[in-house]
């Protein structure tokens, strides 16, 4: 396949440590923790009470009145707010009419409108089917967010939603890259969204994979992940078109890899074969070698199994060089927004590339003896980076790795 260079020209996010990309960048640089007591719903009956809830940012504030948000779920609103920020950032808002036909949407979808649907389920149980409001289900599925984005902006290109749990957001970016590379679209709005919901929170509680306290990636006392919520959207286009319209360029998507553990529904393969093959597939797709990678944004959920397995996989792929590559888990700050994680961490990577820093792993106090890499525990490190690799590993054994590169020509964003 002929390689087309595809760059990122706009970004938008709402998450636990930032209501937009610039706030998010400041939080990442200063090691802010967004994991707090949840007040979106009453957690009294749950085993745990903390999470990376979006508390201080109102997505509705950034959605103009011209768009009706009435039937949008919280997830739809978050995704659309992030989309508008990304398009404004890319200087594509109001969205130019001539771009509509060949602009598509690819979203890593999570719980969708499950938060709203919980009220419906509750009515259904208590009052019966005839008195439950089925209209509340109109945005329950995660495919709704992509529909809202496309219809609100009248985008007529390809549209797809990916649902591979914690790797969805990363896979959506890979798909978007391919859609552009194969000439099916000339611009893609791609990313992921995950809202917090009682069902998701109780499910992870049932699996006993949530830490009661803040999550502590790679720490010997880690006791699970911190659930989060987020929307993260990227504007992707070919380099030539970005240059043509004088866009600023955050970086380049160099490649991605997708593999499957084929091992267990919720536990990673101890030999880390799926993760190893995934990073290798992404390297191969990028045409890079292990010597090229300057920073790894780890999946780093802080579950017992993930952190050991991922560390093992990094050592297997990078050999002795693994010890000299900084590896951090930004989930220690923004928590784990499941299906949005891959897209949110793509923004982390692009900020790291364009601003020249490595975000830290916070809350790591006592290192697990089996986790012996450079996890950037002392705070953000200022350093120029050329290429960075981001891992997303999911339940079901779905693995996706994406590699981003610094862009240094005309239009490059610095600082």
């Amino acid at each position: 396949m002929q390689k087309k260079r595809i760059v990122i020209t706009g970004m938008g996010t709402v998450n636990a440590i930032g209501g937009n990309v610039s706030q998010f960048a400041v939080s990442l640089q200063s090691g802010v923790c967004g994991i707090t007591d949840i007040d979106l719903f009453d957690t009294a009956a749950y085993r745990t009470h903390k999470g990376g809830q979006i508390k201080y940012f109102d997505p509705l504030q950034s959605i103009p009145d011209t768009f009706s948000t009435k039937r949008m779920s919280r997830a739809d609103q978050l995704a659309f707010a992030a989309t508008l920020e990304a398009l404004r950032d890319a200087r594509l808002y109001p969205f130019p009419e001539p771009f509509r036909e060949n602009t598509g949407v690819a979203i890593g979808g999570g719980a969708g409108g499950l938060f709203e649907a919980e009220d419906f389920y509750s009515d259904l149980l208590k009052k019966g089917a005839n008195r439950a409001k089925f209209s509340r289900l109109s945005s329950v599925y995660c495919a709704s967010s992509a529909d809202r984005i496309a219809s609100n902006l009248a985008l007529a290109g390809p549209k797809a939603t990916f649902m591979t749990a914690c790797s969805s957001g990363a896979t959506a970016l890979g798909f978007a890259r391919d859609i552009i590379a194969f000439g099916q679209a000339s611009l893609m709005v791609a990313g992921g969204v995950e809202p917090m919901s009682r069902i998701t929170y109780s499910a992870f509680n049932a699996l006993k994979s949530v830490d009661e306290d803040v999550c502590r990636p790679f720490d010997r006392n880690r006791a699970g992940l911190s659930l989060g919520e987020a929307a993260a959207i990227l504007v992707m286009e070919p380099l030539e078109s970005a240059l043509d319209r004088g866009a600023k360029i955050y970086g380049e998507i160099l490649g991605y890899g997708v593999t499957c553990d084929s091992f267990h529904m919720t536990a990673p393969d101890e030999k880390a074969s799926g993760a190893v093959r995934c990073m290798q597939a992404a390297l191969k797709d990028s045409g890079l070698t292990i010597a090229d990678i300057d920073y790894i944004n780890a999946h780093g959920t802080a579950t017992l199994a993930n952190d050991i397995t991922e560390t093992r996989a990094i050592k297997e792929v990078f050999g002795s060089r693994a010890y000299s590559i900084p590896v951090s888990s930004t989930k220690s700050m923004h928590a784990h927004p499941l299906d949005a994680a891959g897209a949110l961490e793509a923004i982390v990577c692009l900020l790291a590339l364009s601003q020249g820093f490595i975000p830290p792993t916070i809350h790591l106090k006592e290192r697990d003896p089996d986790c012996d890499l450079d996890y950037v525990t002392e705070g953000a490190r200022q350093r120029e980076l050329r290429t960075v690799l981001s891992n997303s590993f999911a339940f079901g054994g779905n693995n996706t790795t994406v590699i981003f590169g610094k862009y240094e020509g005309r239009g490059a964003v610095h600082g």
């Binding site: 019966g128 990916f162 749990a165 069902i199 593999t259 084929s262």
Partner: protein
């Protein structure tokens, strides 16, 4: 072998295996003869009572024995969507003559579509949470509430470890997954991909569909699926799974595999509908058709047949019929148009079953009739009442969803069919 296009054999993708669990039977040998004979898979619901709603028909999968295809150990952990998908995936691999082993397992994968996933399990988990509290939620059920479960279970059962992704975009989930599978093989990241779609009926889901006024009879009249018919009054909900085994022409030839057909292009697009509605005009279909023909490198006169998305819905069928009337207005020989949703119902990710059906049609040179159609809403070249024997050069698989998403594919005859 047809060498009409200068595309390298490694970038031409062919269908070499089919797996089916459908309301018209399990496996292609049971399914296709029944489909061609005009047999219907729709009847009164048996798996559950839908007492609260006006609809009572469904296209249910019956006489499916998951144990025939899946190990007892893994089956215990599977929900219904997963067992249907795993069984269909196994059938497709076996049909293609592919044995997954150490040498090839990292180059075999799955790209599955599902519109709604395990609606039964999700409602069960929600019910426990809301009536008994979060501490009573059964952890064993949790992984199956996530839409990636069927593809994950299939990979665990058969041991393939390559590309593995789940796509969900309502009624084009399967077609979109197939389109993605084409590009994944073309760019060389997998040798063999299983792809298609799975969705199931459940009481909750059926009742929810009914509340959204899509199900027949939306006018209180005679219930039934009548695609493209004047008397249509909604779709009949169905379930099932159809999975295709895809590989490059180069790989199929090298293995000497049976080739059903080539999938020579995919066209994806959207139209700005209200996000929950079906298309109200023909524009989106026209655009999807233009895109897919362009991607397949063929012209409008090269289309022999269309397997339409029409399901008996008022808006969808009209929008689609109008689009084909307009698009082929200048053609002397109009393409045959058929829809099998009168036989298998609307299962949303039924694009998998429909794709298998179209692959069989191309290979067997025979199109199935549109069950339920007797009084066409428009004079298109419909396949009605009886199957139509015809040499199919190129056939279009139409995927149209509410929400305004379109995923079209072109299936092309592949010379002497043998690699």
């Amino acid at each position: 072998m047809d060498e009409k296009r200068d595309v390298p054999m490694k970038e031409r993708i062919v269908v070499t295996g089919l797996g089916l669990v459908t309301p018209l039977g399990v496996g292609k040998d049971e399914f296709f003869p029944r489909l061609l004979s005009g047999d219907g898979g729709i009847s009164g619901l048996e798996a559950f009572n839908a007492d609260n709603v006006a609809s009572h028909l469904g296209a249910e999968v019956r006489n499916f024995r998951p144990r025939d295809f899946i190990s007892t150990k893994n089956l215990r952990r599977m929900d219904k969507t997963s067992s249907l998908a795993t069984a269909a995936a196994r059938m497709a691999l076996e049909d293609a003559g592919i044995v997954v082993g150490r040498e090839n397992r990292d180059r075999v994968g799955i790209l599955l579509g599902t519109a709604f996933g395990a609606t039964d399990v999700t409602v069960q988990v929600a019910g426990t949470l809301l009536s008994q509290g979060p501490l009573s939620v059964n952890p064993i059920l949790v992984p199956n509430t996530v839409m990636n479960a069927p593809a994950a279970h299939a990979s665990i059962e058969m041991g393939f470890r390559g590309v593995n992704t789940t796509v969900t975009q309502y009624a084009v989930s399967a077609e979109t997954a197939i389109a993605y599978a084409l590009s994944e093989i073309k760019r060389g990241v997998a040798d063999v991909l299983l792809t298609g779609g799975v969705d199931i009926l459940s009481k909750f889901y059926y009742e929810a569909l009914s509340r959204f006024r899509g199900l027949s009879p939306d006018d209180g009249g005679r219930e039934g699926a009548r695609p493209f018919d004047q008397e249509r009054n909604g779709y009949v909900a169905g379930e099932g799974c159809g999975i295709l085994c895809l590989e490059s022409l180069a790989s199929a030839r090298e293995r000497g595999a049976n080739i059903y057909c080539e999938i020579s292009g995919a066209g994806l697009c959207s139209s700005a509908e209200t996000p929950t509605g079906w298309p109200e005009d023909s524009q989106g279909v026209r655009q999807a058709l233009r895109r897919v023909l362009q991607q397949a490198g063929i012209s409008i006169t090269d289309v022999t047949a269309i397997m339409a998305a029409a399901n008996g819905g008022r808006l969808l069928d009209l929008a689609e019929a109008r689009a084909y009337e307009e698009a082929f207005a200048s053609c002397e020989q109009k393409p045959f148009v058929t829809s099998i949703k009168g036989a298998i119902g609307e299962s949303f990710s039924g694009g998998g079953i429909r794709a298998c059906s179209l692959a069989l049609s191309v290979q067997n040179k025979c199109l199935p009739p549109t069950v339920g159609l007797s009084d066409p809403l428009m004079p298109l070249n419909f396949v009605m009442e009886k199957k139509k024997e015809v040499v199919i050069k190129n056939a279009v698989l139409a995927g149209v969803s509410f929400g305004g998403t379109y995923a079209y594919l072109v299936f092309s005859a592949c010379g002497d069919m043998r690699g």
